[in-house]
């Protein structure tokens, strides 16, 4: 079982040449082989969404994908949202300003989910965003500030 195969991943614009077992999940490969621990594992059965990453722009549960399925795809994680060390992505900034996080464990999943969706649907209204955000679980905030932050970010991103 421990036979590994070489794999090339493109994550946040960087190339990672790694070797993984075929059964290794994308989440584990990102976290342990690429050292990108911002993607979190909250349930490993596809419900909580903490591990959400964008694969070719689409939000995916990285706990439900094998790493080898992401070969040649473009993967974007929470570490790839902010343009630089000084500036946050509008969704990150909005979560900060609206107290959209407490413990911060589910936050990367929500950020990536919302950023991915808003980039494709910049005119999403609140009802639509609630539906989207219901993909993920948060145990700290009661969600209302996550919704508020997401709608603030949507407005900023439209400008």
């Amino acid at each position: 079982m421990s036979q590994t195969i070489p794999l090339r991943l493109y994550v946040n614009g960087d190339r990672y040449d790694i070797a993984v077992e075929p059964r290794r999940t994308l989440a584990d490969a990102l976290r342990e082989d690429c050292g990108l621990t911002g993607t979190h594992l909250g349930c490993e059965h596809g419900v909580c969404g903490a591990c959400t990453v964008l694969v070719d722009g689409q939000p995916m549960r990285s706990c439900l994908m094998f790493a080898v399925q992401a070969e040649d795809a473009s993967v974007r994680t929470v570490e790839g949202l902010a343009p630089d060390d000084e500036t946050l992505h509008p969704i990150q900034q909005a979560f900060w300003e609206n107290h959209g996080l407490q413990c911060g464990f589910c936050t990367p999943g929500f950020l990536v989910l919302a950023a991915g969706y808003l980039e494709e649907h910049p005119d999403a209204n609140e009802e639509e965003m609630r539906e989207v955000l219901s993909s993920n679980l948060c145990r700290c905030t009661g969600y209302q500030n996550i919704v508020k932050a997401t709608m603030c970010a949507a407005e900023k991103m439209r400008r």
Binding site: E79, C103, G142
Partner: protein, 802 residues
Amino acid sequence: MIGARSLRIEDPVLLRGAGRFAADTIRAGELHMRVVRAPIAHGRIVSIDTSQALLLDGVVAAWSYEDIAELPAIGFRLTPREDLLPYRQPVLARRVVRYVGEPVVVVFATSAYIAEDAAELVEIDLEPLPVRIDADDDPVGWIDAEQATWAAGLGRDLPEQDSEATSFIEEYGDVDAAFASGRGHIIEMDARIGRHTGVPMECRGLVAYFDSADQQLIVDGAAKVPFWNRDAIAAINGLTPAQVVVRETHVGGGFGPRGELYPEDILVTIAAMRLRAPIKWIEDRQEHLMATNHSRGQHHTMRALVHDDGFIEALDTSFILDQGAYIRTHGATVASLTASMLPGPYVIPHFRVRAHVRLTHKTPAGTYRSPGRYEGTFARERLVDKIANQLGLTRTQVRRRNFIAVEDMPYERPIEAMGTHLVHDSGDYALLLDKMEAKYDFAGIEAEVAARRGAGEIVGFGFGCFVEKSGIGPVEGAKVSVDASGGVTLTCGASSVGQGVDTVLAQVVSETLGVPHDQIRVVRGRTDQFGYGRGAFATRLAVMAGSAAMMASEELRDKAFRVAAHTMRVSVEELRLVDGRVEVIGSPDDVLTLAQIAGILEPVGAGELKESPGLSAEGWFRSDHMTYPYGVHAAVVRIDGGTGQLVIERFIVGYDVGRALNPMLVEGQIAGGVAQGIGGAVYEEFLYAEDGTPLCTTFMDYLIPTVLEIPDVEILVTEDAPSPINPLGVKGAGEGGTTAVAAAIASAVDDALQRPNAISSVPVRPDLLRKLVIAGPLQTTRPSKPSKTAARRPSTTNKEKS
């Protein structure tokens, strides 16, 4: 600054995914631990075979009880009643397994994947034994004399123990005499609260290694109570506390269960010492749902003696707590808090509660946000609603009639809570209800839902009142220091479970020093950085660590003034501290920055000034009593007559926290607390099959509410009753969002159905609602006749243990 809606200093790191949660500590050469858990709820261990697992490439070790037999059972951190000792949990199952999920074997391997492969190869032969899952059943034999003697560790032989671990009474007044008087109505109520728990989004995890250069055991991934756990880990491993460094890093939610000392934590540290390799254990979600503490799970039987005007003269009550298979670190905490906080905001001159803590073949239970108060508030507020209905009074009338009056504050109830005298430190319960009624127009809401019911909708409004507790002592400390570049650091024994404590403590320091809060570095949760810390539980840190931080800041300010006065040749009274600079009043050009003063206080200079080196100071805050915040929860609910679906249209919280150090964070705590309360009231429950098999071990079966189930909570934070027992006047905000959620929702559902007392248990499930909708409304308000049998004791089938 205190009171500002300051943005959190924790967030930039977390938003970039740069945090360090338990699983994010990755060490070269680490071994991964995997726990093999009991597959049945009760059985005798016949044999354990790890040989196939050990043959697997990459597997380093596999242990069962025999390999760790020298370890004692896990101790109590709180409420350590001696009669509970025989029920303590062994680190690995000892001869018998008692719940599905109990650790039986651990394997260690070079990768998490291999460790899981190996775990599947471990063979455990079990002989099934009879299973008990209903705590209401009369107690039966639970553990034999040998196990009881071993687990208690008292050095003397104990007899066999039954499944009622403890039973105790809290009381004041003369309940029997009150009931014997025969004056008043007897009103009885039965209430049940389902078994559910905190379920933080991050599962548990721990990474430990022995640093052979420093001769220290380093433990990363701790939470909540790192100092207590450090001492326990040191003792178990034969090390001094100074040789053990416990660090909490980031914590993905606490809520009570996370951070307690569990069997897995001990195994990780033992393995790090024995195998001399970094050991990593990361719990998966299925394990979490059957291994981490459950909570709630209570059945209350209440009987009240009530005057015509709704005044509760006496309350005689008992409850059964479904403890699960062992008693863990919390000891009798939940039962004790349930008992002592049961009277809530009401006077109730005569009160008696009998607690029964019963063992069942389920996951052991501990605390969860608002432990004992969520349960007790549900039971009590259901009873109060019943009193109102039965006497033909309004729900607010009965509550107002019973509130402790503001003139009677501080109000001592002659019982204890968490080992402290229960003294309501301040509060104006009637005023908060007034404010809520006015601000949210309760009368208007009631008229509106009545009109909608008239139009055929099944909608209702309900509410509940409660008292919380917070800020338990006995002590917390903090050290503030300023370096020669002006950098300010607060070091303390506090812990963060994600609630924003860094920000709040920084605000407190900022208030005194005038340095922006986001330029203050907060160090906490690390046993190598501070001497003492009691932990993040019981909503205690704003009160305890906040007060300590304030005292330390003021000490530092005074020291800076002494140095500045000497240097600028003025008196201390002529100085003021503005924006991190000490200036002479009326002469703002005569100024020394804190950085300059820190420079002066480098050891040589400090010696000349007869000051201790460095611009730093400590503060220690002691408290013998808790603070008691209080609140009102209200809900508007709608029921779908076709499916029984319950929709919470509005949820409103009024909460007095004495002083809101950061209103944005207070509101965040409340909103999050409400969501968890809604989970327990409507969606979340650990169900078990007859044979003790847990039926909710994934998020497909254990339903955590999503954004679609949680309304935007409307919040009124008041500061009408500052606490007189700490310098900030603050009371904790962490739990009051949760406390009365089940009570308010049940009250609203009754109203929607127009069936008084329809809801006596939570979670309120659609199948019950559907049945009740079909059954239709009941006639309300049937005043009861004064009872002639007032002297009867509460009807209970429980065997009482003296």
